[in-house]
Symmetry: C2
Subunit: 347 residues, 2 copies
DNA sequence: CTGAAAGCGCTTACAG
DNA sequence: CTGAAAGCGCTTACAG
């Protein structure tokens, strides 16, 4: 149906191998012959069959991108975007996949192998999915890049944003405004991400010489279905004395807190400063506009692809330098943070 | 490197063709032989090479998904999700692509052809990109499904939400609350989507027996970079008399209007009802929570895949029934709409 | 510079 | 029920 190299060769009365050489720029082909071949290919509407090409060269041509199928898709698409760009540069394409249940993971891996993907990126997995994946992939010959999700064992590639520095910037910003009484509104109780962020928060607070009030470390839920977040926010707002600022572990949490605070009659940001994390698309549109941290999502996708490729090409890389990629975070100051109403007396 | 059918055959002392038959469940293979083959395949860790398979069967195995690379990615991922599910059911996979400039489109199509994709879904294209694509694809043998984006000529498939009905539900809801003075906050001035939505708005208003105030039809921008939206919102709020409700053509527009209205000192929703369109992930987290319209994005992806496949299988379809798929919209009432403060006297 | 051969891993008629 | 052949569209040594 589609035009083949053989047809071009036949048209020109030459061998089809010559056509292959000319079209790929390999070997020595007389310039005139090459031009003729290229012109004929174009005239006939020839497109190389990458399927055949991939098979014979044995080079895999796809990179898998797997994530948990969720509504919280804002950053996923940005990472995917970065990955697509980087992949394009290497003539690779991205095979988009998702899973809903743990039992789906097996099939995803199976299909990756069948299509001979060069590697797999995973992101936004549940903690259990990370473990399932790590287990399944162990005896398989396929490099995996973890994006954001902390792997439980050293992986081929681990790309993430420097959340510690992100929190550092937030705390610096808040203390510069005069805040001392700072609470932390975190995600799910049993979540590796929550734990990591809480650890960071404690350390950053301590480094800043601030007291960490244990009661002010509340946990809601990364998902938005449950009323957990509203409850946690209300609990946080009921404290006497109330914190003057709340660092939230994610933009959605921050938006919920803003709403609950306003509904409780607080004037924001004067009576309560709130910060987010991630810089989701609509976070800048809340009122007050959310001060948050950009996590370089687009770069994450790009770096994941590049590191994955360096895994494959087996270029020796200084130990630990590949699988631990820390990307910069950047504070975005908007309107949800302000000096506290009554600045506590300096120590 | 990877295990092949030939190796399995060699292991068992049979022909490799028999292995193929057994593994694909084709032809007549003695049950005992089949079991042996399957067992050996498993033991050796065989995975069929889909690349080779696709080449020989000639059946394309991928569906392209192309969108404009933008930050407004919330609904894109949902459509992609639906498409992945539907594609999986047909053993197809999704090749994710994007473009940034019009000149990228050509290359995207080229790569689709080279990989012999069975079809292409496009979404979130700029109007010019739609035209470029339509032009380029004309002489190509590749079915295209337009998702949301109105094609300028009848296309193979066109899947979209029933925005007219969505607006109808909004207006019904507002009038039931007692609103008569309703404005319309639209996207870009020169955008096919804006035009379509404005036409719908006018008609729906007329059907409801409401007066369309031309001055109250304001346009901002689908993008968030420009200050156009803030300006348009302020203009809208400055009208005397002021509308009691504003129908916004998208969730981001609605969130901007909410903010500007609150900053202007209005109490929402009592002094101004605002509605959105799309139901983005964070729209429900604004304060007041946005009343908006669900556009069945996930279903869009699914339907696009299914229609594309029916194009390919060339099953005769009643004229116009394929390329014009209208998906249901559903009003989601949250907190940004309420009865107007002073209900106008009934006619 | 050009041609003829072999092979990538698979499937699909065609004989036995 | 099983085997041997041909072919999918391409690339890559290997001769000339």
């Amino acid at each position: 149906m589609a035009v083949t190299q053989k047809q071009i060769a036949h048209e020109l009365g030459i061998s089809h191998q010559l056509v292959s050489f000319a079209l790929n720029g390999n070997g020595n082909v007389a310039p005139k012959t090459r031009d003729e071949i290229v012109a004929t290919a174009e005239r006939l509407g020839y497109r190389r069959n990458e399927l055949a090409r991939a098979m014979v060269t044995g080079k895999s041509s796809a990179l898998g991108f797997l994530s948990f199928e969720s509504d919280q898709s804002d950053h996923l698409m940005r990472v995917l975007s970065g990955a697509i760009d980087a992949a394009n540069e290497h003539q690779l394409f991205i095979k988009a996949m998702h899973y809903r249940e743990l039992s789906d993971i097996r099939g995803v891996l199976e299909r990756c192998l069948e299509w001979r993907v060069a590697g797999l990126m995973v992101m936004n997995l549940t903690d259990e999915a990370v473990e399932t994946l790590e287990h399944e992939v162990k005896q398989l010959d396929m490099p995996v890049a973890f994006i954001e999700n902390p792997p439980s064992h050293p992986a081929d590639v681990w790309v993430r944003s420097d959340d510690y520095h992100g929190l550092q910037q937030i705390i610096e910003h808040l203390t510069a405004l005069g805040h001392r009484e700072i609470a932390f509104f975190n995600g799910n109780a049993e979540s590796r991400l929550s734990e990591k962020r809480e650890t960071h928060f404690r350390r950053v607070m301590e480094c800043a010489g601030l007291f960490v009030n244990e009661a002010w470390l509340v946990r809601g839920s990364w998902g938005l279905e449950s009323p957990l977040n509203e409850e946690a926010a209300q609990k946080l707002l009921a404290f006497q004395p109330r914190p003057t600022a709340v660092v939230c572990s994610g933009d959605p949490l921050a938006m919920i807190l803003i709403r609950e605070a306003q509904n409780a009659g607080l004037k924001l940001p004067q009576e309560l400063s709130v910060t987010g994390f991630a810089d989701f698309y609509l976070a800048g549109l809340s009122n007050p506009a959310l001060t948050t941290v950009d996590q370089s999502f687009r770069v994450m996708g790009r770096v994941a692809v590049e590191q994955l490729l360096s895994c494959i090409s087996a270029t020796p890389v200084p130990n630990g330098q590949r699988w631990n990629q820390l990307l910069p975070t950047r504070l975005i100051v908007r309107a949800s943070t302000a000096p506290p109403l009554c600045v506590p007396t300096p120590l």
